[in-house]
Assembly symmetry: C2
Homo-oligomer: 273 residues x 2
């Protein structure tokens, strides 16, 4: 009996993993492995395999993935093991489970996930999505700092976007974005302007790049003249400076964003738990 599933290195890049079934019916669930330095539970390996399929585009955002039973039979493990793998993927918002329907690949084209990456909420009333105005779109060579954060080479092509978002007509967010040119070919101001809805939805549909997580650093700054003009505020107005790096599958950085938030009638909301 082959029993190799407890080595991390076992999972190959090829399609047919060496994960072996365990003797069924006897209750010998886990294989008889010795203490190995790189122990990885079966469900983690299954999780990695499913993630690979997500990354490779085998199942696209919004699509239904195979049922737990189907995956269990594909990977030759029990349904419970697949379940535990999907549990974690669901907790990380990579997939969404719907009882009675199945498990779907997470997508940004849903009201449900609209506010996962937009933390600015009104002081009064219910959150709603801002209006979008594209100020500028251009291609440029990546400055050293931008290149470092996007994990590309200094001088590589990047797409620069500047936009202003407004709530009920009041300019509130000034965003500067830098995107790797290699991924976002053909991104124009027109495309951004005609597209209604969250930008990450467009990235997902048009450029096959699904953002799965982001890391933000927040500081307080004062508006300079250029910023003051765009946000219709006085020079010196205190603003939140939110620097974000967004990642797609495989923890690959694919967006750098510097947002300036006017927090007179809004606040950045965060839950600590």
């Amino acid at each position: 009996m082959v029993k190799l599933q407890s080595m991390n290195s076992i999972i190959p890049t090829a399609n047919n993993p060496t994960i072996a079934p365990t003797t069924p019916g006897t209750g010998v669930g886990a294989s008889s492995l010795s203490a190995s330095p790189t122990f990885s539970p079966l469900y983690q390996q299954i999780k990695a395999l499913i993630t690979q399929s997500l990354q490779s585009g085998e199942w696209k955002p919004g699509e239904l993935i195979p049922s737990e039973m189907e995956l269990a039979s594909r990977f030759k493990v029990s349904q419970g093991t697949v379940r535990k793998a999907i549990d974690e993927l669901s907790a990380e918002n990579l997939v969404v489970r719907r009882q009675g329907k199945g498990t779907f690949v997470a997508t940004h084209h849903e009201a449900r996930s609209q506010f996962r990456f937009l933390r600015l909420a009104p002081d009064e009333g219910v959150p709603h999505y801002p209006e979008n105005r594209i100020i500028e779109v251009k291609r440029m060579r990546a400055p050293a700092e931008v290149a470092r954060l996007l994990d590309i080479k200094s001088g590589d092509s990047v797409v620069f976007i500047r936009r202003v978002q407004s709530f009920s007509g009041v300019p509130t967010i000034l965003d500067d974005l830098w995107l790797p040119g290699a991924i976002f070919k053909g991104l124009t101001a027109e495309r951004l302007n005609e597209y209604k809805g969250p930008m990450y939805g467009l990235f997902e549909t048009e450029f096959g790049t699904h953002m799965i997580r982001a890391s933000e650093q927040i500081r307080a700054v004062c508006a300079d003249e250029a910023v003051a003009t765009l946000l219709h505020v006085d020079v010196g107005m205190p603003l939140l400076n939110v620097e974000r790096v967004s990642f797609t599958y495989g923890d690959k950085p694919v967006e750098l964003r510097r947002g300036l938030y006017l927090t007179v009638n809004h606040h950045y909301r965060n839950e600590l738990s």
Copy 2:
């Protein structure tokens, strides 16, 4: 056979719940319940019971709770059901599992959880805990806004604390705190000053109040004269204004905190996922 565990209202405040065991050996895991409007899975009820014991102080922060087997036998359910309940409590940071040792009640007296509620990190170098200087401690009557957020009556007694926290001698955080006087009796500047380590650790040990989560609203503001003096910065310096309400078991608010963060060499870190 009594089978009532699927009604939310079944869990009494008394110690002996009406959760009934299911027929063992037959594989009839779930009881034969009809669709009930307030369906609550067994493990959720177990979770609620464990939370009650945490809240009542049956098991105090840092202490070992009974093993899964023991809890399973106490509640007359399978170990797997207890496990699922504890899984969630662990995910919510109410308890900490340690393989081979047992499950412990979460405590703020641990390096592990020091930075769960302190999100200000240095731009360079590794995070470390700030030095503490208590500026003022006094009892006062709660203003309307403070009372509202603490869910007490306007005019009720509250403890007010002002402190400055410094990193490597540089004043960086000015905190104003309001605590319900009824809970924090006998809290003095001396106690706060002699105590080394996180304030939530002191609250936990000395006042039996364990913070489990907090909600923050962040804005950008400018330093006024009083603030500028305390933080050794110029008037008008942009600062993060972090308003926090902290909760203990049962989602009861027990702390209101307004922090002003100097973000010249530090930033507020947030992971979006």
